[in-house]
């Protein structure tokens, strides 16, 4: 069949290769080295294609599924360094499988729910493993994994009233969040707290008072967001900042043109994938952290500049990203990777596939358009750009939790502040029964 030429053909022209202008530095040497390894991948694929014709870049579904299923069950002792991140391991595997269209068996799902139950603490939140202190990151991972599983047992496992107490205890006076008791404080804390609070409908006005202003202190002069005020713009933290702002309905505070420019510039012109920071190297996981910014930005811009927005595409090169992922980031033994030469791991498998899903699915209010590189069955299920769980899972979990009342805070100061959480995706929002209309957590109150 006649097809458009693959984007990666550009490597045969050598035009987009990095030039160091006679000034060789650590950064330029590293960049040139990565381009060479990427060129090898693209060239050997193109040479094969020239020889035997039709084969389009293929997603090795079977291998990745086997890799993920194995990981979800048991891991070698090399994973000891992730012993305080086990809910993460669960989420990475479960979400990647979800994207690949794999439903867990009843037993597998029950096993996950039961294990995450062991990680949930009586004082609220989830720890990195059974018996570990509650921490916002595994709390986020556990809630997302349970939302993906989506059964009543999974959703009901989350103790919402202790969860909100845990979130409240992590909050600082200025509205930022610590990761755990006595732990570090950065924009991940804000995102994890906002995300789980929105998903499970426990957000109140007082819980996130001033949080948006703290987030805004993290937008750097480059346009992206940093982990803490004053730091360098960074892909992971930018996603946290923008998603949290959006979930708090305060995206109007963000300097959107600067953010858009920064985000667009993170796509590598030679490799096709994204880098995390200016002048750093391409890395598969930023396919989601950076790529995931574009659907959010598109939604934001639709509110002020809809006439000029494309109705067909995100503002990055969706084909180039997919080619990078398909041709440079699939490990022969299953799982996906950061860049050629690296070993696969569950984190990169999860975020490369999440980024691929974003690149495949364009959605605006008016239309849904799929843009799949390679054979049709490369298509993944669409992911929700703010939570990074499947769209369907996010919608049904939101419906379920929005039908429940927002837990009333036990601390006296916040007793009157419980309000209903409004979902950004405009999934069925149901007004809660436990709150007075005057104190609902609506947009105008949160954004002041």
């Amino acid at each position: 069949m006649a097809e458009e030429e693959l984007w990666c053909n550009h490597v045969r022209q050598n035009k987009d290769k990095f030039r160091d202008e006679g000034v060789s530095t650590v950064s330029s040497i590293d960049q040139a080295r990565v381009e060479t390894s990427v060129e090898d991948k693209y060239s050997s694929y193109l040479d094969m294609k020239d020889m035997d014709g039709q084969e389009q870049p293929r997603l090795h579904r079977g291998r990745h599924i086997a890799y993920l299923k194995k990981g979800l069950t048991s891991l070698s002792d090399r994973f000891t360094s992730l012993d305080a991140s086990r809910p993460w391991l669960v989420y990475w595997c479960v979400h990647a499988l979800e994207l690949l269209g794999v439903q867990l068996s009843k037993e597998e799902a029950a096993g996950v729910v039961e294990f995450l139950g062991k990680c949930q603490n009586p004082n609220g939140g989830f720890g990195g493993g059974p018996g570990q202190y509650s921490h916002l990151a595994p709390t986020y991972a556990a809630v997302n994994a349970l939302v993906i599983i989506g059964t009543p047992q999974a959703l009901q496992l989350i103790n919402r009233s202790t969860l909100v107490e845990f979130l409240r205890s992590m909050r600082t006076e200025e509205g930022s969040f610590r990761m755990h008791e006595g732990g570090e404080l950065d924009i991940r804390g804000v995102y994890c707290a906002v995300s789980v609070a929105r998903l499970t409908n426990v957000a109140t006005e007082s819980l996130f008072a001033n949080t948006v202003h703290w987030i805004m202190r993290c937008q750097s002069y480059e346009g992206g967001f940093s982990g803490a005020p004053g730091m360098e713009a960074h892909g992971g933290y930018t996603f946290c900042g923008l998603a949290a702002l959006t979930l708090l309905h305060a995206h109007h505070l963000c300097h959107t043109p600067a953010l858009l420019r920064w985000a667009a510039n993170r796509q590598m012109k030679y490799e096709g994938g994204f880098q995390g920071r200016t002048n750093k190297l391409v890395d598969g996981c930023y396919s989601f952290w950076q790529g995931g910014l574009f659907p959010i930005l598109h939604t934001l811009l639709a509110q002020e500049d809809v006439a000029n927005l494309s109705t067909e595409r995100w503002m990055f090169n969706q084909e180039a990203l997919q080619e990078y992922l398909l041709l440079c980031c699939q490990h022969s033994r299953g799982g996906l990777i950061d860049k050629p030469g690296k070993a696969s791991d569950f984190y990169h498998t999860c975020y490369t596939l999440s980024g691929m899903s974003v690149a495949q699915h364009f959605t605006s209010t008016a239309r849904h358009r799929t843009l799949v590189t390679g054979p049709k069955d490369n298509e993944l299920i669409p992911t929700h750009a703010l939570y990074n769980v499947g769209v369907e899972a996010a919608v049904s979990a939101t419906q379920y939790f929005n039908s429940l009342p927002v837990p009333i805070a036990s601390s006296p100061a916040s007793q009157t502040e419980a309000g209903d959480a409004t979902d950004v995706q405009d999934t069925d929002k149901q007004t809660t029964t436990a709150t007075k209309p005057s104190c609902t957590c609506d947009t105008t109150q949160v954004k002041t």
């Binding site: 029950a110 294990f115 018996g131 570990q132 202190y133 004053g230 730091m231 090169n317 180039a320």
Partner: protein, 333 residues
């Protein structure tokens, strides 16, 4: 036990199944001084998922750690136990937090703790817990005399280590140690003019000290122009330049003769996308302030957008098309 610990560290940092040849490691369950404690196994449940095949030594140490936390023991031996637990997994924040509780409770020698923490940082420079621990201890000690040098040692291996930069910024701010920071940034940029972390640090340092006064803006524009003249196709200084001129009261092009400077490069045949982008910014600024010039400037602007989309920055084609539409919408007739 010292030697055993070093062995163990080798084992962990290689993350290989390296087994110590000398059998110096004694499991806690075989140690007389721990005979009074009943180890507490991890409650994974019968159908655990993501089950890690721990080594016996790991399970043993963590069984005792759990027992200690459960009983609330805060002793010297418990402190040593946390050190072993950290050596086996430096990312276990629960252990670090419990260790801090013990340190506080015992009134331990924090200088010694800093030495331990330094070793941990050297072995795990990209771990959140080690840097946070250092911050807490230095905050308790109120002594940051060794801290800048520590980060410099880390930067000598990886000049873009995010954790180290975040820590350095905290030290600079908390202990007001900004003297000499711009010189340090200079040296890093001298080594690698593409080091974006160093450019960011330059911005941070100025924000925290003099601020972007008119004099400082002049000086910085001069500095950044030099850097760009050295390597044009380097996004970092272009971004920084934009960050600096944002602080101008007046027009973007009014400082440092940027408009002419850009035009000269352009006329000299330079087509770096960063130069072209900056030219668009200058023109946008002009259209904002001089409505009369809009028609001619807009035309030129849109031409550059097309060149970027189709030739000099093709990968960002969608972006440049959007920018073109947005500009015509705002400044067109």
């Amino acid at each position: 036990m010292r030697e055993a610990q070093i062995q163990l560290r080798v084992m962990c940092s290689n993350d290989d199944e390296y087994v110590s040849e000398e059998d110096v490691w004694v499991l806690y369950k075989d140690r007389e001084e721990w005979a009074d404690v009943t180890p507490l196994t991890q409650d994974d449940g019968p159908n655990a998922v993501v089950k890690i095949a721990y080594t016996d030594a790991f399970t043993d140490v963590y069984d005792y750690f759990r027992a200690v936390v459960a009983s609330g023991e805060m002793s010297e031996r418990a402190l040593e136990l946390t050190e072993d637990a950290i050596n086996m997994n430096a990312a276990n924040y629960t252990v670090w937090q419990y260790r801090r509780k013990i340190l506080k409770h015992l009134g331990s020698d924090l200088k010694k703790e800093l030495a331990f923490c330094r070793e941990m940082i050297e072995m795990n420079p990209k771990n959140y817990q080690v840097w946070h621990h250092r911050r807490v201890i230095v905050d308790w000690l109120k002594d940051a005399s060794k801290e800048l040098r520590l980060t410099e040692m880390i930067f000598s291996q990886d000049a873009k280590n995010y954790h180290a930069w975040e820590y350095r910024q905290w030290v600079l701010r908390t202990f007001k140690l900004f003297d000499g920071e711009l010189d340090y940034v200079d040296r890093l940029l001298e080594e690698d003019v593409r080091n974006n972390s160093a450019w960011n640090q330059r911005h941070f340092t100025i924000t925290q000290t003099t601020g972007f006064t008119p004099d400082v803006i002049q000086r910085e524009v001069h500095y950044v122009k030099k850097a760009i003249e050295k390597v044009v196709n380097n996004e970092s200084p272009w971004s920084y330049l934009r960050g600096v001129v944002q602080h101008c009261d007046g027009r973007m092009g009014s400082v440092g003769d940027l408009e002419n400077w850009c035009r000269q490069m352009y006329e000299g045949g330079q087509r770096s996308p960063y130069l072209l982008t900056f030219i668009i910014d200058l023109m946008e600024d002009k259209m904002e302030h001089e409505p009369d010039l809009r028609p001619s400037v807009l035309k030129h602007c849109l031409q550059i957008c097309i060149c970027l989309a189709t030739e000099h920055d093709q990968i960002r084609q969608e972006y440049w098309r959007y920018i073109g539409r947005n500009l015509s919408h705002r400044f067109g007739a």
